[in-house]
């Protein structure tokens, strides 16, 4: 029978809407159905309807196109049913948004704090120092609103609310890989939409790899010969448009060009950057074309992407081709280099190239593992293989990003959200100065077995676990306590048209085992 529905814990968020006082009595302090959990929140026991005239307004006399677009977007997201307005005197009449400074650019460390106050009646207010902080507050506000199907009204339960919030880490990302499978612009846009719902603020765009080179560079048109097909390509305009789309949603786009490994697709259009046709990687340091190409490529890409961080990869460099191909090994000899020296030379050259465009280099942890403190101290180390590198690299003064293979690799379909949630990036670090060097982390959606057909349910809902770990207070770490909210967030994603898999899945993106409601599966 329907017992499973009626007696389920999952019924709580809905009872909150309809009978919040009863819930407060029956269950004690009602959980805060916002994902990721705000740093601090107080709530009341009233249920407030939204007036027919409800609108979001800026308190600034100078109109902001960004904020007006954001209002339109949030209105479309929140109000997905035609509703009646609350005509009573206790209705919420609007949301007044105050942004202290609209001119702060979106870069690492941008102020994302906000204060949201929703009274039991009258005007709600949202205050933020920057536009990007206002976006986070709008997202929280959107999650407080429910459609009451019985009264056909939008309501905010548990008013009055006061929420003061700010992220724990400044860099909260999702990596997408458009080389193993091409993801078209509409899908990338939707991924950006979806990550903004969880207050992620970085799309790490691993745009090229061995398998394909989908970027149609205008300066280096032969790169695109390694695209999978005519249509599976991005133009410079596509990239610029996507970056602007992301910026409007408070999402930085960090480009990655992985060198000298993972660059086999380069030699399709430019064969002389590879040691030999059969031994294609890593890039050939003896070829002048390699250096010219890298210089031009970084120049073009930094002109398209204003992001201050530039990811240079540097992982999984198998140097055997440098030994086996005579041309390369002779060059190394004549330059008094061994393979490792050449690897370091690549890293340093790449750092200098992006540095000349005022970009901060990011490298996978192999670069730190191989060269330690001898590389540019400004380099950000992206740890993926072993969390010990987080401790060691921060001890050596490097800033780090955390994406442990296993816990935070979304392509590990057997990794559960609880495992993702349990990972604490600062594990083993006691010195607060060292802990402060952890900029944040990323959930990585590597694309070998992921294309447009499955990318959303492979990312969602599990990436939400990483989002909360990176946003919420360190003490918010119990998966058991989070589970009802996690289930609720999954349903919110589904409702917004983001194909999130069943939250009970132990294998990501698998179909539900049988009939069921979204909150129970």
């Amino acid at each position: 029978s329907f017992a499973s529905f009626a007696h389920s814990n999952m019924v709580r968020p809905f009872l909150l809407v309809l009978f919040s006082c009863i819930v407060a009595v029956s269950y004690g302090q009602a959980p805060i159905y916002v994902w990721p959990q705000p740093q601090s929140a107080t709530q009341g026991t009233a249920i407030s309807g939204l007036a027919a005239s409800f609108s979001m307004k800026s308190s600034s006399s100078t109109p902001s196109a960004d904020l007006n677009d954001a209002f339109a977007r949030f209105n479309a997201t929140i109000f997905d049913h035609r509703a009646k307005g609350d005509a009573s005197s206790s209705a919420i009449t609007g949301l007044l948004v105050t942004v202290a400074n609209f001119n702060v650019p979106l870069q690492l460390g941008v102020d994302e704090s906000y204060t949201l106050s929703v009274p039991a009646s009258g005007q709600a207010t949202l205050q933020a120092n920057t536009y990007y902080g206002a976006l986070r507050g709008l997202e929280t506000f959107s999650q407080l609103i429910y459609f009451n199907f019985t009264t056909s009204m939008y309501v905010i339960p548990n008013t009055p609310w006061t929420i003061k919030d700010a992220p724990r880490f400044p860099h909260r990302g999702v990596l997408v890989d458009t080389s193993r499978h091409f993801l078209p612009i509409p899908m990338l846009r939707r991924i950006i939409d979806s990550i903004s719902y969880a207050k992620f603020n970085v799309l790490h765009w691993h745009i090229t790899d061995i398998q394909s080179f989908p970027w149609q560079s205008s300066a280096l048109p032969r790169f695109t010969m390694a695209a999978y097909s005519q249509n599976e390509r991005f133009s410079d305009e596509d990239i610029q448009d996507l970056i602007e789309y992301a910026r409007k949603r408070g999402v930085r786009v960090m480009m990655e060009i992985d060198v000298p490994g993972h660059a086999g697709s380069w030699c399709v259009g430019y064969p002389d950057v590879c040691p030999s046709p059969t031994c294609t990687m890593p890039l050939d340091p003896s070829s002048n074309t390699t250096w010219t190409l890298m210089t031009q490529l970084f120049k073009e890409l930094t002109s398209l992407a204003p992001e201050g961080l530039f990811h240079l990869g540097g992982d999984e460099v198998d140097m055997s081709c440098w030994t086996s191909v005579a041309r390369v090994s002779q060059w190394l000899k004549s330059h008094n280099m061994n393979n490792l020296d050449a690897y370091r030379y690549f890293v340093e050259q790449a750092h200098a190239m992006v540095g000349s465009h005022q970009r901060t280099p990011v490298n996978w942890d192999e670069v730190y593992a191989n060269f330690g403190k001898t590389i540019d101290p400004n380099t950000i180390i992206h740890v993926w293989r072993n969390l010990a590198y987080v401790q060691n690299a921060t001890r050596d003064g490097f800033r780090v990003l955390v994406s442990p293979d296993g816990p935070w690799y979304l392509d590990g379909l057997g990794t559960t959200w609880q495992q993702m949630y349990a990972l604490e990036p600062s594990t083993g670090i006691t010195d607060p100065k060292q802990a402060a060097l952890i900029l944040g982390g990323e959930a990585c959606m590597w694309g070998e077995t992921v294309d447009s057909s499955v990318v959303m349910p492979t990312i969602w809902p599990r990436a939400a676990a990483v989002a909360e770990r990176l946003w919420s207070d360190i003490s918010v770490n119990s998966a058991a306590s989070a589970e009802p909210r996690y289930a609720w967030f999954r349903c919110l994603l589904d409702q917004r048209g983001i194909e999130a898999g069943p939250y009970k899945n132990t294998q990501a993106r698998t179909a539900p085992p049988g009939p069921g409601g979204c909150y129970t599966q």
Binding site: H81, F149, E232, V450, S452, S453, V455, G497, G517, C518
Partner: protein
């Protein structure tokens, strides 16, 4: 007629001496010919029509966005040929009533300087616009939209008038967002019917003003459709030339009705191996109580609300109204003293008689509201030729039954489970493509009684996670079988076109599965070959 057209295709192809006659339009048009000249499309290209119609304007908006996804295309001419700057749509019949008999035939002519669609109706024009949109390609290197192999001349019409997708919103809920997107995707394959299996044993997600407790049977208070949501879906579908045929399955598959109104279910039924009420676990097969007048009162009240009691009106305006009628488990009726009493009064000696009593009463009700009844084949297999002749038989189990039914003059819709059930995840697109719903019919007058068919998307193991990957690309195989000429059967010819169609779906943000693996790709690769 069909065979002549097929011959034309062959002749045209021989004339052009092309090897595979490959054009990347899905489903394949009935007849087409093309040249060898590439035409570039002007950045200021516009669809135009003398017909002043909101429906037409909405279609133009849609196809402008679908065809020209990039806003920054070059203003410079990339080819020596003239630039195409308009497509003019001429409509013969301005009526916008959308029903089974609505015409969908069109011609599309594209020369290097002009493009024209001549269409019977605004809905036929949409089919032509879809074809046009599939001919336009973006050339990323030149940053220009082009049409290859002009001039084009396409004359097209569907083989069957009813080309549907069944969508089950009871076993899992799908917000309106997904239904809209599903309708979008159907229009890309020229499918024209959403068979909305809105309620079943597991949940009743739809609002009713007449019986406001019915949607207590929803999975949760938020997994529900308001009346306005439903109206929006129906209008969204109409704007895309898609009819919405609602299904209210009874007396079986109806347990969820009893959540809000327990007396709709038989009183005192006994749980047994045959009678199960462990919803949401299958089979959960407690049927409605046919002995209770209240049952008919609720059905009449709900259906009147949905149809406004007359043809072309109400929330669901389609002439077809599906009342299910499949998989009745009389084991649940056997424990009820009221039912025993009722059967005695009516001198029913079998549960089949009780079942048909229900079916006939409901059919009478629906006919009285100006609708044509659709039933699953079970009512026909039970009643045989005594079933009301106006009933459309929806075949799902047996093609023999279909042959019998059309032989006796019934109209049929084919949703053959072995071939066209999308929840059979082991069946790849070729199984769907290879199935011919009229394979064993030779008499053209009998073939005519087969209105078409449906890909059936049952929802037991499907939710938003896998909706689109379950439907696409396999439903496209059904779409082509129902649209294109009977002679279009080659898997080899279809394969590259289907790959191209799948890539197009992905480009249009429909997460279609790889052809070779429904659950996602097994290795890196292109949408063109996976």
């Amino acid at each position: 007629m069909t065979s002549i057209m097929a011959t034309t295709v062959v002749v045209v192809c021989l004339f052009l001496s092309c090897v595979s006659c490959q054009i990347n339009v899905w489903p394949l048009p009935q007849t087409y010919s093309h040249g060898t000249t590439p035409v570039s499309v002007s950045p200021s290209f516009q669809f135009t029509s003398k017909t002043n119609s909101h429906t037409m304007r909405e279609a133009f908006k849609r196809y402008t966005a679908l065809t020209f996804t990039r806003t920054d295309v070059s203003n410079t001419k990339q080819y020596d040929e003239a630039v195409l700057s308009t497509l003019d749509v001429i409509i013969t019949d301005p009526s916008e009533d959308l029903q089974l008999d609505t015409r969908e035939d069109y011609t599309l002519v594209v020369t290097s300087t002009s493009a024209t669609i001549n269409a019977s109706t605004v809905y036929a024009a949409m089919r032509g616009l879809e074809t046009f949109s599939q001919l336009v390609q973006y050339n990323i290197s030149a940053n220009v939209y082009t049409i290859q192999q002009a001039p084009w001349s396409i004359s097209d019409h569907p083989r069957f008038p009813h080309r549907g997708l069944l969508m089950d919103t009871s076993r899992h809920f799908f917000s309106v967002h997904y239904l809209h997107k599903l309708l979008d995707s159907m229009s890309y394959a020229k499918m024209n019917v959403l068979h909305w299996h809105i309620v079943d044993a597991q949940s009743f997600p739809m609002q009713s003003a007449a019986y406001p407790l019915l949607w207590k049977g929803a999975w949760s208070p938020s997994e529900r459709y308001t009346t306005q949501d439903v109206k929006d879906v129906v209008e969204y579908a109409r704007l895309r030339g898609i009819r919405v045929v609602p299904e209210f399955d009874g007396p079986g598959h109806a347990y969820a009705w009893g959540v809000g109104y327990p007396s709709l279910l038989p009183q005192g039924y006994n749980i047994s191996s045959k009678c199960d009420d462990t919803c949401p676990v299958n089979p959960c097969n407690v049927p409605l109580d046919p002995s209770n007048e209240f049952t008919y009162q609720v059905l009449e009240g709900l259906f009147t609300e949905l149809t406004a009691g007359k043809q072309g009106a109400g929330i669901f305006t389609d002439n077809m109204f599906h009342t299910g009628g499949d998989e009745i488990e009389p084991g649940c009726w056997s424990g009820s003293p009221q039912i025993a009493q009722f059967m005695k009064q009516h001198s029913f000696t079998s549960y089949d008689e009780l079942y048909m009593y229900f079916v006939n009463r409901v059919a009478g009700m629906v006919k009285g509201m100006g609708r044509q009844v659709v039933n699953w084949e079970s009512t026909y297999t039970t009643a045989g030729n005594t079933l009301d002749k106006g009933t459309i038989v929806n075949i799902y189990l047996s093609m023999d039954v279909m042959e019998k039914a059309v032989g006796s003059g019934y109209q049929c819709i084919v949703s053959f489970a072995n071939a066209w059930y999308l929840d059979n995840v082991g069946n790849n697109w070729t199984v769907f493509y290879n199935f011919n719903p009229v394979a064993n019919l030779t008499d053209p007058s009998l073939v005519k009684l087969v209105l078409g068919g449906e890909a059936s998307n049952w929802g037991e193991t499907m939710d938003p996670t896998n909706l689109f990957a379950r439907v696409w690309p396999r439903a496209a195989a059904v779409a082509e079988r129902l649209w294109s000429a009977a002679s279009v059967t080659s898997l080899t010819d279809a394969l590259p076109r289907l790959h191209a169609f799948r890539c197009m779906l992905i480009d249009r943000d429909i997460p279609s599965a790889p052809l070779d693996n429904l659950a996602g790709p097994l290795a890196p690769g292109s949408c063109l070959w996976q």
